[in-house]
Symmetry: D2
Subunit: 159 residues, 4 copies
């Protein structure tokens, strides 16, 4: 499983622990963390995943591998600015949004367009039609995994 | 001026005339119409622009120039699927949204992220924080042009 | 018809007239000029097309419409750096290369990969297998148009 | 280190072992293997890396994670067709080409444009100006690593 964590580059303090716990729980469930590779929510989530021994992928907007935060194992360097948001979304089996501004909203919208499960942790300003609202980090990762499994079951007639 | 018109590929009937009028008024104001090049709102807007003798650009998601609707003068073929949304937004000095689903929301969010004027015609489901709501097609194009001019003035110290 | 002109951003002096003549002849044949929108070969070709009253499209690598050279009518702003090369190639029915360095070679290779006619004007360092070598600007545009027509005929069983 | 392996989707039989050995030696040297994620050279190289316990990244052109070959650990799904070539190149500290057709040539050209070390194993048809020719798989990986190290030294004044 590859789970994407999306959220703003400057993470409001009260969401830092949430983002870190989301990352940690993704790793504890054996899933790979996909994110945009920069600071804020992306960095907190990646830190959480690394503390739990997980694998972290940063899909970077710029030209340089070294713009990735220090918790990123593998840097994908796109040089495509916001178009990398599309790749973050497409590469994730489910998305979890923590806080977030307009960039995050573009990813939520793309996730819904591509019919991916989009989980939004309470407090994110974008509780729009189609998203699944989670109470907290634990709930968010649980919902992400449940939704990935049920969508895979729908695809597999033998299940 | 390059003005982008965004909205769903299947245009609800009551918005067809709105989209067409938006296109017509863009052309009458001497601006170039940018859109995603496919059907629905994109096609109605392009038809309106062509009726008024304007120029229409379609930035296509697929691989084939001939997927453009018949009112497109110049087809930009990206082969990049939803990542072409980023190019529609970046190439526009202002955006006007008519109706629209999640794809349109991703473009509205990217427009706001890039600090472009984003005009939303009443009835579009995405009247989110940051957009400018227009009463109708005439109002939308007027607001787009006013906002482009005032943002250009801010950039030009001699004005 | 949309014909792409590719070549280096710094055009060796002896190729400036060639690039301008290629642009002029594209316009005289009623085709639209597609290019990367910057300086060098792209600017010379666009200047030629405008002198002959043609239409010029610049598919820009950066973030700003105003990085286009002054002969560009319509600026497509990708913000995707070299990935815009793919869009230049895909949007062109045929490609004409004048001089050119590694960026041009990447476009020649992509053009051949997509089975487009790729015309290379003598003196371009990349006379590789699969390209069609032209003696001069006149020959290049003639070969481009002939090859576009014959590939369209192959697609049209009624022809 | 992230080393990219590029080459055709249908690998000529005599290059299969070369590609596999390149992958294996990349992993044995503790580097991550980046590739396009599909069959042919990409699959042979990824198989080699996995046999040696390495990590493999596939940057896919299409829309589906499951188009990756079975030796890919992490699938980056771009939905951008050939534009993903740019991402393969940008994400690699050095590139090694085995056999390869026009797609591979576009990657070699982009690598040289971005001033990356581009190693070409003898027998690849694109021994163009600027590439470093390697005798065999062992030599290729050795040259890739040496060149990465020396380019990093140039960037680090304390070295």
């Amino acid at each position: 499983m590859q789970i994407g964590v999306i959220g703003s580059e400057v993470c409001p303090e009260k969401f830092r622990d949430v983002a870190e716990e989301v990352g940690r729980r993704i790793a504890e469930n054996g899933a790979i963390l996909i994110c945009g590779g920069l600071g804020g929510v992306m960095e907190s989530a990646a830190r959480g995943a690394k503390k739990a021994g997980g694998t972290t992928i940063g899909i970077l907007p710029g030209f340089d591998r070294y713009e990735a935060n220090k918790y990123i194992d593998i840097a994908i360097v796109t040089g495509m600015s916001h178009a990398r948001n599309v790749i973050v979304v497409r590469s994730s089996d489910a998305l979890i949004a923590v806080a977030g501004s307009y960039g995050t909203l573009s990813e939520i919208a793309l996730g819904l367009k591509m019919k991916k499960p989009v989980i939004v942790v309470k407090g994110c300003p974008w509780e729009i039609k189609g998203v699944i609202v989670a109470e907290d980090a634990e709930d968010a990762v649980k919902l992400a995994i449940e939704n990935i499994k049920s969508s895979q079951q729908r695809l597999d007639p033998s299940a």
